[in-house]
């Protein structure tokens, strides 16, 4: 061994190898969601008498365009004495959402919500994953003069990986996805492997049954809320009891749908999804009357909308190279935590295209020498 070490001196040459630094790659995603127009029908009325406002609004249609990104800022690997590898990931996040509610009796409103956030994830390499996300965001109405308000959403959770087939999550979330400002427990459970078939219940985010459909496709049947709270100019005098120039528009739908994710390679994924909006609410809140309110906003109008359908399409781009994660189920789980809690608190889902589907050991029949030449050395031929 000494001779070998003399011939191949232990230099620091291996430290200069430019292997990927991060497990997460810079990721850009975008999606479009649309529901059809519905009349505001009295039979779906809920709460206080909404007749005057309902007659003013006439009908309702909603669509939204979301764009977002996250990128790794810091990745640290820690190798422990017993061979275990743990890691810490600090990610920067950002999102842009244009909510486009359309009412038959008012002018069009394009409501902007934009966020810049940060999240830290620690994977112990054993059983536990800790996740902390802070998403400050701004909200304003781009279509008319309105106030810009800064709010924040946040999630803190602990994920316990009991086995590759089972994990649970407990935590706390401050979120607007139910159309109001909510402080809720985060409770999650997953049964089944992330690279195979699994059922995942993540309150208040989603309930998903996900299954591979070949090497590159993944199908899922899911149930989740889609919602938010947005600043909206009161230029159509929706609320007249106060001098509010800006009111808050809140909405959420509980949607049930089928989603098909196509992962062309490690870098490009697209999805298409369609289904039904089971429960659908529209609310308005007074800005001034909720000024000193730290919990739920109190509405002056709340309407239950009749059931309908939705369409949702989008893409995810992952840029650059990342460290390999084959069979590293702790990192699969880490990726899934990150994708379940989207950047921007819009409850969009980028998919888990960076988790390789389980591959069967089948010999390839279309090999070319150039594909494998660096795996084979001259002496292998003898």
């Amino acid at each position: 061994m000494m001779v070998t070490l003399t011939v191949f001196p232990q230099t620091d040459s291996t430290k200069k190898i430019k292997a990927p630094k991060h497990y997460f790659t810079p990721t850009i995603f975008s999606d479009y969601y649309v529901t059809p127009q519905k009349d505001l029908d009295e039979k779906y009325r809920k709460g206080t008498d909404n007749a005057a406002i309902r007659n003013h609004l006439k009908n309702y249609q909603y669509s939204q365009l979301v764009g977002g990104f996250y990128f790794p800022l810091i990745t640290k690997d820690y190798t422990h004495a017993n061979g275990r590898t743990s890691n810490f990931h600090l990610l920067g996040t950002g999102s842009y959402m244009m909510a486009m509610p359309r009412f038959g009796g008012t002018s069009n409103h394009n409501l902007l919500k934009a966020s810049i956030g940060i999240r830290g994830i620690y994977n112990s390499g054993k059983k536990g994953i800790w996740f902390v996300d802070a998403t400050p965001f701004m909200s304003t109405d781009l279509s008319a003069q309105s106030k810009t308000t800064y709010r924040w959403a946040s999630t803190v959770l602990y994920d316990h990986l009991v086995s590759n087939y089972f994990s649970f999550r407990v935590g706390f979330t401050r979120t607007f996805i139910l159309g109001n400002r909510k402080y809720l427990p985060y409770l999650g459970v997953r049964i089944g492997r992330l690279d195979k078939i699994y059922v995942s219940i993540q309150f208040p985010r989603n309930v998903t049954f996900s299954f591979p459909m070949g090497k590159n496709l993944r199908g899922s049947i899911y149930f989740k809320p889609m919602g938010g709270v947005f600043n909206m100019a009161n230029n159509d005098s929706i609320y007249t009891k106060t001098n509010d120039k800006t009111i808050l528009y809140g909405r959420y739908e509980l949607i049930t749908g089928f989603r098909l994710d196509a992962n062309f390679n490690k870098h490009i994924s697209i999805f298409a999804s369609a289904g039904f909006t089971g429960v659908k609410y529209l609310s308005f809140y007074s800005d001034t009357e909720n000024k000193n309110n730290t919990f739920d906003f109190k509405n002056f109008y709340n309407e239950k909308i009749s059931r309908g359908v939705f369409l949702n399409v989008g893409f995810t781009l992952r840029i650059g190279r990342a460290k390999s994660i084959y069979n590293n189920y702790n990192l699969y789980e880490t990726f899934n935590v990150n994708s379940t809690i989207d950047a921007g608190d819009n409850n969009t889902y980028t998919g888990d295209g960076n988790i390789p589907n389980a591959t069967k050991n089948k010999a390839k029949n279309n090999l070319k020498i150039k594909d494998v030449q660096d795996l084979i050395e001259a002496q292998d031929l003898y």
Partner: protein, 130 residues
């Protein structure tokens, strides 16, 4: 539309990605790791493979047509550096991997890696005989 796009894009990543996934499946099958071993072994082995891949990719940047003695010398120096790095990595990760799985499985890992190469060679041989 989704299915039409699938035909346009290369399916399931590059061929190299597929081969890597196959190698992982091959090793997984041969080593028969316990959950605890798997949790410790794969992060270290993936890191080792990433570094090997990166050093080979760096070497591939060398020109393969030599117009001057210097170019030939540079190529040979780069090749020597590659082998030196690979040996250093092999030794470094041999020590690290030993901490994650029993020594018998470390030996089986080497055999599995060689076995996978042989599988690839068989495939290539079959193709050239066709």
């Amino acid at each position: 539309m989704l299915f039409a796009l699938l035909k346009v894009f290369p399916q399931g990543g590059t061929k190299r990605e597929k081969i890597e996934a196959l190698r992982v499946a091959f090793i997984t099958q041969k080593l028969n790791l316990t959950a605890d071993e798997s949790q410790k072994f794969w992060p270290v082995y993936n890191e080792y493979q990433d570094k090997i891949k990166a050093s080979r990719q760096e070497f591939k940047k060398q020109p393969t047509i030599f117009l001057t003695d210097k170019e030939a010398q540079d190529y040979l120096d780069a090749e020597l550096l590659l082998k030196q790095r690979e040996f250093s990595l092999y030794k470094e990760y041999y020590d690290k991997i030993k901490k994650t799985i029993p020594i018998i499985k470390v030996a089986e890992l080497r055999q599995a890696e060689e076995g996978f190469k042989k599988e690839l060679l068989k495939q290539l041989q079959g193709k050239s005989n066709d």
